[in-house]
Symmetry: C2
Subunit: 167 residues, 2 copies
């Protein structure tokens, strides 16, 4: 899929068919995340792949958007490795770039995904479910699969409202 | 350009020809940034387009990577609108997603760019140069133009080192 088209047509997908996502596709998505830029190229992102019914169920109980995780054939938990961090703002920006690469790759592969952040309210419990140690922090969970729902429309502000000034 | 190819072949470009970047291309790049996802769809990103020699010179004096800004035909300062923020971590991640969309769009259009973060050390002075008020914070500067330099190689960790666990 063309890059600009992918950027413009990607939407959050919250309903999925029962068709499993191939391991090859999961790896392609993570590989896209891996190629994001980061400050000092520190690559602070780490991933937990969640596919088992048991783990999805446990994770789903930690967010009010649990149904999405429970019904998605796979979720990718995005963690940050605290020891690799050098600047909180820039590291969190880098994580966002990594997530965006994964969302675009998902869409380019004909799959759908949603970026879930509300679960950060219970990050400590989620880290236990994910089997991650205290050297990690939870940054987001991406739920993904084959889209079952119609694409939702989404709105953005006009460019004119975003450009503060031209110098 | 194909999305996955774009993600994999994008590299930081720090040297540019003197060829100007068309306004149409600048708008396409900002438009890509505009379509990034954000928590609660709050779209906290704002932009200042810097093209005049005088402003590029002033901005370049605020970072040790000033030569890049001075020699790039255009820089885009990425700001965050404090009033639109709801969660610092998630808002900074959203800014990262917005920046990554712009970097990918730049590459897809045959242009090159580099994400500059070191200038955040002098963000207050930069905001004065940018004519932005205290309702904004500086998040990054993207310097961009037509690539003059050979592509640099870049390294990433192996996926095996990034996948903490599979559940």
């Amino acid at each position: 899929m063309d890059t600009l088209q992918c950027i413009h047509t990607r939407r959050s997908v919250r309903k999925f068919t029962e068709e499993p996502v191939s391991r090859e596709h999961i790896m392609e998505i993570l590989d896209a995340g891996r190629w994001a830029p980061s400050g000092l190229n520190n690559q602070p992102w780490r991933f937990v792949i969640v596919r088992s019914h048991e783990s999805r169920k446990k994770l789903s109980e930690l967010t009010k958007y649990g149904k999405v995780i429970e019904n998605a054939p796979v979720s990718i938990a995005v963690l940050i490795d605290k020891a690799s961090m050098y600047n909180e703002t820039k590291d969190h920006q880098g994580i966002g770039a990594c997530i965006q690469n994964m969302l675009l790759a998902t869409h380019a592969l004909g799959l759908g995904a949603v970026w879930l952040g509300e679960i950060l309210n219970r990050a400590d419990e989620a880290l236990v479910v994910l089997g991650a140690g205290i050297e990690m922090n939870l940054m987001a969970v991406l739920a993904l699969g084959h889209p079952a729902s119609e694409k939702h429309s989404s709105q953005r502000k006009d460019l004119g409202d975003l450009i503060v000034r031209e110098l």
